[in-house]
Symmetry: C2
């Protein structure tokens, strides 16, 4: 059966996350419903590079699925793009080898986290960034961000509820950019991220930047798996899965 | 009684426009509800520079209202900003003379209209721009836009349902900007605009740019009040009231 890879973008505001669950709308449900209709009523299961949580967005999520018919890629993309809801977009669709797997073969992921640091909250950013109204020392945050980089056991930055056994991940780069006077962008690039890891790292960086945790809090948290050296989980609406790379 | 002027910004997505009406949430209702609560349960009426329609946004709407108590401006702004819903923001509040009037004294208004011209619709722009997927000749549109500028009777670009008698307006400037490869921004600056006038002008410019109306359609429409030379009313979600000026 032909296997297809698709790159999708979605506004997570109105969804209870990616993965199918009872009594809640999810991205997976919306896409599988469309695929089922295109496939004459027979169900198709999709597999993402990883789940995203309720309210989290994606500009470059990757999924794969097996579909019993050969379809011309651009026509297939157009049908999926126009027949899924307006807040889900199919950027590309291509036929791939049967061995392709969106999750197992992912080599690198990039996440962005948007923070609105304006004095008054911008109504047009409220769904796409978290608001933070307190003082932040960017120099200290950038120094602390260096401690995230490299290969570490990130168990202390993994929310309960994860079934993953090996919690070692390699974070290649953490960048904190000043997009404008009222907006910060955190960029995380690594071989993978644990359940809520990016949001827990952002929450910790904010607590460090505001002086409520020492600059070496992340270093200590990782070395001693010390929860007291971590901050709260930052709000979901600031988080975007930007890109997933494969060999 | 002290009179206050406020500059507000709002995401119109979840409102049935500015003006209070039965059985629908409006911007006016949300703000007046907050003012009533701050005023110990006694109602306060607000007056905008002009109404905005269902789904239309504002980044610089101006309102005025009379409030029986003297309030320190920044504290009053903060109270209104935090107690109104998240999609309404108070950018500034100041006490003004009793003769100030947000509508009668407005000298100039600026509207922006955002158009998403990407091949695939961007989920993150869907609430804040209209999507147009057909060819557009920008050169021809810019030439046609010149015919809007100046003092004209704009009756043919006014939707039915308006109670305004004098339909002469002076449009100082119409600019069409390429914000990026996938986004256009139309800027309208004038002494005032009729009911749905900006959206009807955008709809007409799009029809001209797509070759469905001649380049001089607006000129003919204005000279002969000829409805056949106008396009449809463009969707509300692309429209932003950006600024209102006073002497």
């Amino acid at each position: 059966m032909p296997r297809y890879k698709a790159v999708i973008s979605y506004d997570g505001t109105n969804y209870a996350g990616f993965q199918v669950q009872n009594n809640a709308h999810t991205i997976q449900e919306a896409i599988e419903k469309t695929l089922k209709r295109l496939n004459g009523g027979k169900p198709i299961t999709i597999h993402p590079s990883g789940r995203t949580d309720s309210g989290v967005h994606a500009k470059g999520q990757v999924i794969h699925f097996d579909y019993p018919h050969k379809r011309e890629a651009e026509k297939f993309r157009f049908a999926l793009d126009t027949q899924t809801p307006d807040d889900i977009c199919f950027l590309s669709v291509e036929e791939v080898e049967e061995t392709f797997h969106a999750r197992y073969l992912a080599k690198e992921k990039i996440y962005h986290y948007h923070l609105d640091i304006g004095h008054t909250r911008d109504p047009f950013k409220r769904l796409y960034s978290a608001h933070y109204r307190y003082d932040l020392d960017l120099g200290i945050m950038r120094q602390a961000a260096k401690d995230i980089e490299g290969e570490h056991d990130f168990s202390v930055f993994c929310a309960t509820g994860s079934s993953v056994e090996d919690k070692t991940r390699n974070v290649y780069e953490v960048i904190i950019e000043e997009v404008s006077e009222t907006e910060l962008r955190f960029i995380f690039r690594g071989n993978g991220f644990l359940y809520k890891m990016v949001r827990m790292l952002v929450g910790t960086l904010l607590k460090i930047g505001n002086g409520q945790l020492p600059v070496d809090a992340i270093k200590i948290a990782l070395e001693n798996q010390d929860k007291k050296m971590t901050g709260p989980t930052a709000h979901p609406e600031g988080l975007f899965l930007m890109n997933v790379s494969y060999d």
